[in-house]
Symmetry: C2
Subunit: 310 residues, 2 copies
């Protein structure tokens, strides 16, 4: 597990990729709109863990020119996932693996149609990070990740040897890693944060700190988190209720933060409404759970996304 290909050199892929470069791994970045800038200037990381610049990195604008790698990291916006089938086969070694470093739900299934299902892993990034310019990433806080192996069957695969190996690579890059025996549950847990903060920050045109300071919204955030938990339970992915309080405390401790969905909205890019809201709602519904608050937030975001893209 020595070479990495990063599909999407943004706030997440750029940051973790840069940390892997700094740890001595062989990393190859695929970029689109920022390609020329990164080719000339490399990557600049302003991080609370220490700023650094990588003046020259291996950057590409087409997958055809990239070397085949041991690990492919998918860190695109999920709204562009339709291009993955044309990219991954070009850049993955025969025994390579795919790490899906995206928010929401439903894409491991898609990627398991492109590569062998047992080579797909999900990575959840608990990180406050924004791309503030081409090849320029501001890491505000946190950074630990959870990794779990995708299971095409009903049962989670537990903590496999391969999972441990991936964890080791990130640990070498100074990233704190949790290995998750059950990726589905891990994805539901991540939604406890993503659903209320991404959704409400767009609908109410605000940042996480102001949501938390307002008595009404603070209570609403908590209710929405409880609804995520009830969806998870319906899907057999329940977790301890104390995790909700933990996420509230975690958010309280953050600097004022603009969520990724709010940034997409402000920059008139499509929002990840389907992967963060639509798919979890469908999955929960199929398991018999209606989630009224999240459904309402979904409708509100669909309206705003359509208006914004019109």
């Amino acid at each position: 597990m020595k070479s990495f290909a990063i599909i999407g050199t943004g706030a997440v892929g750029g940051l973790y990729g840069a940390w892997l470069v700094r740890a001595g791994f062989d990393v190859h970045f695929l970029a689109r709109s920022d390609y020329h800038h990164i080719k000339s200037n490399g990557l600049q990381i302003d991080s609370k863990n220490g700023d650094f610049r990588l003046s020259h990195i291996n950057v590409y604008d087409t997958p055809q020119t990239m070397p085949k790698c041991d690990v492919v990291i998918v860190s695109l916006k999920t709204t562009s996932n339709n291009i993955l089938a044309d990219i991954i086969p070009h850049i993955i070694k025969d025994n390579g693996i795919v790490l899906v470093m995206q928010n929401g739900m439903g894409f491991e299934e898609q990627i398991a149609k492109i590569v062998a299902p047992h080579t797909v892993f999900g990575v959840l990034c608990f990180v406050c990070s924004n791309k503030i310019g081409p090849g320029y990433i501001h890491h505000l806080d946190f950074g630990h990740i959870s990794i779990g192996q995708y299971s095409s069957g009903a049962k989670p695969l537990g903590i496999t040897e391969q999972l441990k190996e991936i964890g080791k690579a990130f640990s070498q890059a100074n990233v704190r890693v949790t290995l998750e025996p059950d990726l589905k549950t891990a994805r539901w847990k991540k939604l406890v944060w993503n659903i209320p903060y991404n959704g409400l920050s767009v609908v109410l045109n605000t940042t996480t700190d102001l949501l938390m300071q307002n008595t009404y919204c603070r209570e609403l955030v908590k209710k929405i988190m409880q609804e995520v938990l009830s969806g998870a339970i319906a899907c057999g992915c329940g977790f301890e209720e104390s995790f909700i309080e933990k996420m509230m405390v975690y958010t309280d401790s953050m600097p004022p933060y603009k969520t990724s969905m709010k940034i997409d909205f402000d920059q008139k890019r499509p929002m990840e409404v389907e992967s963060i809201f639509g798919t979890p709602l469908t999955v929960a519904k199929n398991a018999g759970a209606t989630l009224p608050l999240i459904s309402m937030l979904y409708c509100q975001l669909k309206f705003l996304d359509e208006s914004n893209m019109a």
Copy 2:
């Protein structure tokens, strides 16, 4: 029932007051910020039923200078209701009555502490009307009203003689009138429109037509209306479910309309969040009904109102 005092010469009080003037009634308008303009220029009504101007009207800037009238119409924003106790006693005849021409719930109870409870009536205006300048009102559509008598006891008072007399006065002013035997139920029915459209138009920064054209929001509007009905039922104020479809059709037939709450928000005035959302939620809760979608909308509006007023 010959003389009328209008407290609040805006989109609603100005319009119905002007129609009463035109029908030959003796009408006295109390105005605040628009007083000087109306004193010099009168009222201009642009209406789909016919434009007209009243060059000179009886307008006052303090209740002390107004004559005592048979009927006091309260058409202030509910956010200013705290001033009513200092106004009404100056301008109402001994055997006078009060018509509360406001949106939401909870104010007949307040006014019944200022005057005798049996002299209080509620008026629901099904009208699209905007104040587009001082003394300048644009009546876009509809205009019929429902009137019911306030009951301080558990039972509605039915259609009393006094109610009929009020209805007759408005009929003479060419206003279509429905007499409501049960004011509480009538107020819940009016909320079927006010809650979804006022709330969502502010949160989603839009107009009624665009909400109705969007598949997701159209469905959401309907779900919120159904929640209003379930609140009404819990309070013993149920009505036929077909009323919901009627309100959808009614809104479809409207011209693109900016709700009063959206206008208040855009003009950085306090919104009627408590009377339209807070009080009905409390009343429903006391009757054992939790209304999750309306509660969420309430939290969102409280956040936006506080941000807007900061």
